[in-house]
């Protein structure tokens, strides 16, 4: 009886003209299984790069002044969320490949996290940071999500203000914060960080104090980063700073 089954199966194969699927179909199927694995790695690496970028450009020098709440608010949650999503997708997809299930989820997840971080680091070191900086400087909801500094820097009562420069004077500037409120900012005693261009339309962060007439800035930082990478910045009102501010008009 058992012998009959093999014979019957072969008869069905011959009579039904059944053939093995072609190499192309077999390869396409294999590729179909690997494609999400690769995509998850690529997007996971971008998420890692974004996370590193936000962490590297955080205003961590202000921790002592603003405490633990500042850290909590400054974490790159958007990128972390996507990293987790893509790592989990990667693990799920990898388990579907020919022998992917052999390794177990923990090993695959650890490998994915380390690989995406390594590739994300490589992406940034090859100049990918400029792309992030551009994306995170464009006004809009995506900037607020990707580079979650808007909320952190929207507490003028605590000395943290941010927005876009509307007009620049000798020792003042007009700034429109991200909720649309216009501020008169006294920049007379402001330290202007190296990467700040001070031009209309530029997004900046300000440290200082709220005053009756607006905001007195003690420091002006670029929107992305703390601007300390290119020197210590210039003190407005100390000659060079004044000249520079004036020169921008």
């Amino acid at each position: 009886m058992e012998n009959d089954i093999a014979k019957k199966a072969l008869q069905r194969i011959v009579e039904g003209g059944i053939t093995p699927e072609s190499k192309t179909v077999a390869n396409l199927r294999k590729f179909g299984f690997w494609l999400p694995v690769i995509l998850a790695l690529v997007f996971g690496s971008l998420a890692s790069a974004g996370m590193f970028f936000v962490l590297m450009n955080g205003d961590w020098d202000l921790l002592g002044r603003f405490g633990a709440g500042f850290i909590v608010r400054s974490m790159p949650y958007f990128w972390l969320f996507f990293l987790v999503v893509f790592v989990l997708l990667g693990e799920f997809s990898y388990a579907k490949t020919t022998i992917g299930y052999r390794y177990g989820p923990v090993k695959v997840i650890i490998t994915y996290v380390l690989s995406t971080m390594l590739l994300g680091g490589v992406f940034l070191s090859l100049g990918g940071g400029a792309l992030f900086e551009r994306a995170m400087s464009v006004r809009g909801i995506m900037r607020d999500i990707m580079f979650n500094q808007t909320e952190v820097w929207s507490h003028p009562d605590q000395g943290l203000l941010s927005g876009t420069i509307k007009d620049i004077g000798t020792s003042t500037l007009r700034l429109v914060d991200f909720s649309g409120v216009e501020w008169s900012v006294d920049t007379q005693h402001a330290l202007i960080r190296g990467r700040v261009q001070l031009e209309n339309g530029e997004a900046v962060k300000l440290l200082g104090t709220m005053t009756a007439s607006g905001f007195a800035a003690s420091e002006i930082r670029p929107w992305v980063g703390n601007g300390s990478m290119r020197g210590n910045g210039l003190r407005n009102g100390s000659g060079a700073g004044v000249g520079r501010l004036g020169g921008m008009r």
Partner: protein
Amino acid sequence: MIDSEKCNGKTDEELVTRSLDDSSWFFCLAKRYEEKLIRYIRRISGGEREDQEDILQDVLISAYQHLRSFDTRLKFSSWIYRIAHNTSISAIRKRAIRPTVHLEEDDMQKFADTIDVEKEVDANFDHALIQEVLARLNEKYSEVLILRYLDEKDYLEIADILRKPVSTVGNLISRGKKLFKAEYERTIMNKQHGK
């Protein structure tokens, strides 16, 4: 049809390569595995003999159609057992019935010998209960116990057949054995007390 003499001495992988050029070579592979597979299908799906044979035919045809997807990092036996497992499960689902474990008398003896259950409950040992108890276990335990102790597959082969990590297979076997023994003893006790 290839003479079965010609099949001897050829590895599964060689036969796969030859089958891709000439379907009659696939008869060697089909013949080599039909007995093992029909037993496996019977053990995990129960049902009528005709149904089991239909499943096996579908398994062999599906294996032939997907021969190019066979990856030599797996054993051919693991690969074809995987197809048998999946085809049996989907046939059970089509019939919308709970999978039943069906063991022959020699299966039950083999199982009792290898799992050592006899030693622990020897006075009241009852072969017929093995099938009953195994069928009551969660499917994830019964399927690994069947593959390990009746089909005599090693951990890696079971992992490849069921697409689970080797460590998971080890845990399932160890836990499955414990659960089986506990359930077996409970069943014996209940029978003694007429429950």
